[in-house]
């Protein structure tokens, strides 16, 4: 079996200078993979060198590029020949099994939704990504696709997240929690309370509320939340980690004594850095569509973009889409019954 990945090579802050080398390296590490490099032929070809002969690689010309700050609606309407649109089209046409883009998240979401269509039984797509925890990692969704969610959407996120983790990590019954706040009187808003009821009534391995600090304690394999809260939690974490890392760096650069200390501690610091390197966690999956799009961080470097490619590859190899589709079909009656109960 061959897994074919369509890569939006023009997307992201660095475009082809990152995506093309990452694709070449990815092919070297995945002997069964094929890639379709989508973008301006004249921008991609010179970066390929002798790899242009690689039979597992081809260029698909696309004349336009979606800008990072472009309105998703305009990108969807006007840029029919953008590298992003063409990459998603390749998935729709069955020429690729998955597409990967470091471009504009909103545009990727809008285009994927328009081209691939929603899965029957799923009302809204969700962005799902792994986060490190003290004892491994967890998956959180939605991280920003939907700002106003109803209880049934959060239930659907739970089902999709559980299927993803089950498929990718071979966990039989991954635990599912709902992001909430702890105060007694005000345990969550109405939507979260109702969603918890639905999740409890489902046949998921639902463990109840997870507070913000529970994300990193590894309280659950899957954590569901609406896209507003999920995006705030994710970006807050990024901001805090950046501040702590830069402060640690500057403390070690303060004077020659601290610089010597840094040299001596370098292997420890590098281990620490490696473990929480956000590049290792790059590659968010858009779930809920009749096809898979993977979103890389816009600022991804070659290593990070390569991880997004690997994640896309793993999602296909582990049949994430088939697992979700099967489960949704199978549960088709259950969620409705649960919704009616509330």
């Amino acid at each position: 079996m061959t897994t074919r990945i369509a890569i939006d090579c023009m997307g992201g802050d660095h475009g082809p200078s990152v995506t093309v080398p990452a694709a070449i390296q990815f092919l070297a590490e995945h002997a069964a993979a094929h890639v379709i490099l989508v973008g301006r032929d004249e921008a991609l070809r010179p970066l390929l060198g002798s790899h242009v002969e690689n039979p597992r690689l081809r260029i698909q010309h696309a004349s336009e590029v979606v800008a990072m700050d472009e309105s998703p609606a305009l990108a969807l309407r006007n840029k029919k020949d953008s590298s992003m649109r063409v990459a998603v089209n390749l998935v729709k046409a069955g020429e690729a099994d998955v597409c990967v883009s470091a471009g504009n998240t909103g545009a990727l979401m809008a285009i994927s939704r328009f081209v691939l269509k929603m899965l029957p039984g799923i009302d809204r797509p969700a962005i799902c990504a792994p986060l490190p925890t003290v004892n491994g990692h967890t998956h959180m969704l939605d991280l920003g696709a939907n700002v106003d969610c109803g209880p049934e959407h959060l239930l659907q996120f739970g089902i999709m997240g559980a299927m993803l983790v089950s498929a990718m990590e071979h966990k039989e019954r991954p635990t599912v929690g709902i992001l909430n706040i702890g105060e007694e009187e005000i345990k969550g808003n109405e939507v979260v309370k109702a969603a918890a009821e639905l999740l409890r009534a489902s046949d998921l391995n639902f463990i109840g509320n997870v507070e913000g600090d529970g994300i990193y304690k590894g309280d659950a394999d899957v954590i569901v939340c609406d896209g507003f809260v999920g995006n705030v939690a994710l970006k807050t974490s990024e901001g805090l980690a950046q501040m702590l890392a830069s402060s640690l760096r500057s403390e070690f650069k303060r004077n020659w004594l601290t610089k010597i200390a840094a040299l001596i501690a370098i292997s420890v610091l590098n281990n620490f850095k490696r473990r929480f390197d956000h590049r290792r966690y790059n590659g968010a999956i858009l779930l809920g569509l009749k096809g898979i799009s993977v979103k890389s961080h816009g600022s991804a470097d070659v290593l990070a973009f390569g991880n997004a490619l690997s994640r896309a590859y793993d999602a296909v190899e582990n049949q994430v889409l088939e697992r979700i589709t099967g489960r949704i079909a199978q549960m088709a009656s259950a969620p409705v019954a649960a919704v009616e109960k509330v």
Copy 2:
């Protein structure tokens, strides 16, 4: 001028063993301060030793204690002689200028609201606390008092937060931002969008949206959000910081080589730790009431609880309540006009 602080000495995970030593140390450092130690006389007196003679200290007996996991509604209804209730009563009666508790947040909120009453012009109280940033710190509110907020509540939080920072940090026009997510199409939910309009129309120094990572970048002096999102952001940060700290510790403890590296790097690591020590940021202020209650973290130690006492002291010395009351009265017509515009 004397500032009098009523201390709920029974609250928190550690009760009098933390609150009483912290109070004694606080008095030693603040020559003009008086404290009223509220709680079971027999539990407090033995811990005072010779300090029982200190004329700036007195014990106010209260026979009951609100448990950390007690329902706020039940605590409010049934525990009329709890240390928390009596401490808040002392503020209401004018015998204390402020009260401090490390007890049950929901109960402190419910009791403070019931006893002190809301300020005219403010619909809901908010919990406000400082957070460290790359270049100083910011204040965020609400951190968990309200889960479902309307736009006008977020406007009120902005006004109260700006007045707090203006009073405590002597900033003429502190910048105010609203916590939001960055995607183009989905820039916030409806409430946040409407709240941003109100804030823009107000005479606050409103700078617009702040994303999650902007909190720690110091994008704004004051960041408003609903209590659900604020609580998630705060606890997520706590969880991440704990995970990173414990991982750094265990990396340095891995073997004798790394232990030597730790010894050499100890002053650097201690500087780093001190700068982001969450105990330094202890003491959240409940704003919007006709009196000030300060909430300490339940797990606070003597240093952390002492910081909450200092924060309460500073709030009184800097006339935070008077500033907020004055501004609300002054702006009484403006917010209404702005609401009508939306």
